[in-house]
């Protein structure tokens, strides 16, 4: 059933405990509004982000993934956000090879003082993903999307 409501993308956001998560907290304490489509997950550092997490999110219903961390040079663990940057660039190329539009995964640096920037980045990313439309990656194996029914032959088994 296609409801006539506009497509509301689901975004998974990975934040780092010291900078971008605190930016999200600051957006909260200063009541800066942003799109509700994003659901945040706190890691200790953007360096903890494993490409597995991004593929897991995309394969199970997320339409976009936003990776956030401290600005290069300001990482609480000194330089681990550079590793996040390198993985991000190789991961985007691999996703492109698998036909996933690389714009569905975005890397954003936000310091603990940039609550407003974080909120604004979220809202604009939600609009970018809304424009790309649903990803609908087979909605995972647990059959939410009807499996392609083959011929009655199947019934024989």
């Amino acid at each position: 059933m296609t409801n006539n409501k506009p497509f509301e993308p689901v975004i998974i956001g990975f934040t780092c405990n010291w900078c971008s998560y605190r930016a999200a907290d600051l957006a909260g304490t200063s009541r800066t509004k942003y799109a509700p489509n994003i659901r945040l997950l706190r890691l200790m550092c953007s360096g903890r982000l494993d490409p597995t997490f991004v593929f897991k999110a995309l394969a199970n219903g997320a339409d976009g993934v936003m990776i956030t961390g401290c600005h290069p040079g300001e990482c609480h663990y000194l330089e681990q956000n550079y590793k996040a940057l390198r993985r991000f660039q190789l991961m985007r190329r691999t996703l492109e090879g698998l036909g996933v539009d690389p714009r569905r995964v975005k890397l954003v640096w936000a310091s603990a003082a940039e609550g407003a920037k974080f909120a604004q980045e979220v809202t604009s990313f939600v609009e970018e993903v809304r424009a790309l439309g649903p990803l609908n990656w087979g909605a995972g194996e647990n059959g939410r999307v009807a499996e392609y029914q083959s011929t009655p032959q199947e019934a024989l088994a």
Binding site: T52, L85, R86, T94, G97, L98, V100, N136, A157
Partner: protein, 330 residues
């Protein structure tokens, strides 16, 4: 009917290499014959499906199932053998993770059929397109329909053990045969259900003789056209060797011969997504902090999908490319 335990082997979407690998155990094949009553082995003997259907459920002790589930016949036989077998082993990379046939998941089924029947390499002057069923005077004949996406064995039925490799090394097959024999003679215990057998639980580097130093990558380049130091780790010479994330068990056959590992033994123990491990492993040690410079280094891997998911696409988290999902209600 001898009272020896029954043994079966089946090949779904595969190249037959796993069958030959079994023969590669040379005279040990006699042990198989001595200890087992081979009841179903399409490539080697003329047993029919109805023969298997006639057997009691669970009567086949050991079934080595190789090949991916490409069409509904594969799925049908997989379910049949599951019912009939006590121990169903996903034998070889295709059954475990989709392997090369699994790369078809990068494109929709229509493109696959079209490429197979209507492109330059196929002599099909009248452009005949296969029909699922066809009325003949003698009656209706049917051919299996292609599933929208190749699945691994454990995405269709419950699997008892996994034996990776493309193909599994013959010494590993021999070892598994010995193990099952000893279990029969009560001399050994079966490993816990779902375990990986016939392989190690570390990665290829563990068995590779090349010298390994602290890893920092300044460039990725192709292996030919470059003098390779026989002693030094290939990755440290800029060759994208997948050995760091590929399960051990093959005694690092390829790197020892001077070729980069391409990952046929699949992910290491407990790994959720093979490609992700390699992406993270390679990228983390790239020796640059500047996005543009990083990009030029990454240009050294022109086909990341092929490099990271050559064997593991069907078994990965994403399982297929967008085109395969898009076409079928995905």
């Amino acid at each position: 009917m001898s009272d020896k335990p029954k043994f079966a082997m089946y090949w779904a979407a595969s190249c037959g290499g796993c069958e030959i690998a079994v023969l590669n155990i040379h005279e040990k094949i006699l042990d198989v014959d001595a200890n087992f009553d081979v009841v179903f082995w399409p490539v080697a003997m003329d047993a029919k499906y109805k023969d298997v259907e006639a057997m009691e459920d669970g009567s086949i002790l050991l079934t080595l199932f190789n090949g991916g589930i490409r069409n509904d016949e594969n799925a049908h036989i997989a379910k049949l053998l599951r019912r009939k077998s006590k121990l169903l082993v996903a034998f070889g990379s295709c059954a475990n993770e989709g392997c090369i046939p699994g790369l078809a998941n990068l494109s929709p089924v229509e493109d696959i059929v079209n490429t197979a029947f209507h492109t330059i390499s196929t002599d099909n002057p009248n452009g005949i397109h296969p029909q699922i069923s066809y009325k003949m005077p003698e009656g209706e004949i049917r051919i299996p329909t292609i599933l929208p996406r190749l699945k691994t064995l454990d995405q269709v039925v419950d699997v008892d053990y996994y034996m990776p490799g493309c193909p599994p090394e013959s010494h590993q097959i021999a070892a598994v045969i010995d193990l099952v024999v000893q279990v029969l003679q009560g001399k050994a215990e079966l490993p816990p259900k779902g375990a990986v057998i016939g392989a190690g639980n570390s990665t290829v580097c563990d068995e590779c003789q090349r010298k390994r130093n602290v890893k920092t990558i300044n460039s990725f380049n192709r292996i030919f056209g470059q003098a390779i130091d026989p002693e030094l780790c290939l990755l440290e010479q800029g060759i994208p060797c997948n050995g760091i994330a590929t399960r051990s068990g093959c005694n690092a056959r390829c790197p020892t011969a001077g070729a980069q590992c391409i990952g046929c033994y699949g992910p290491a123990e407990g790994v959720v997504d093979y490609g992700a491990r390699l992406i993270s492993g390679f990228a983390s040690v790239i020796n640059s902090k500047d996005p543009k410079e990083i990009d030029t280094i990454l240009d050294g891997i022109p086909d990341p999908t092929g490099q990271f998911y050559r064997f593991n696409l069907a078994g990965s988290l994403l399982k297929a490319g967008a085109p395969a999902w898009k076409k079928n209600g995905g």
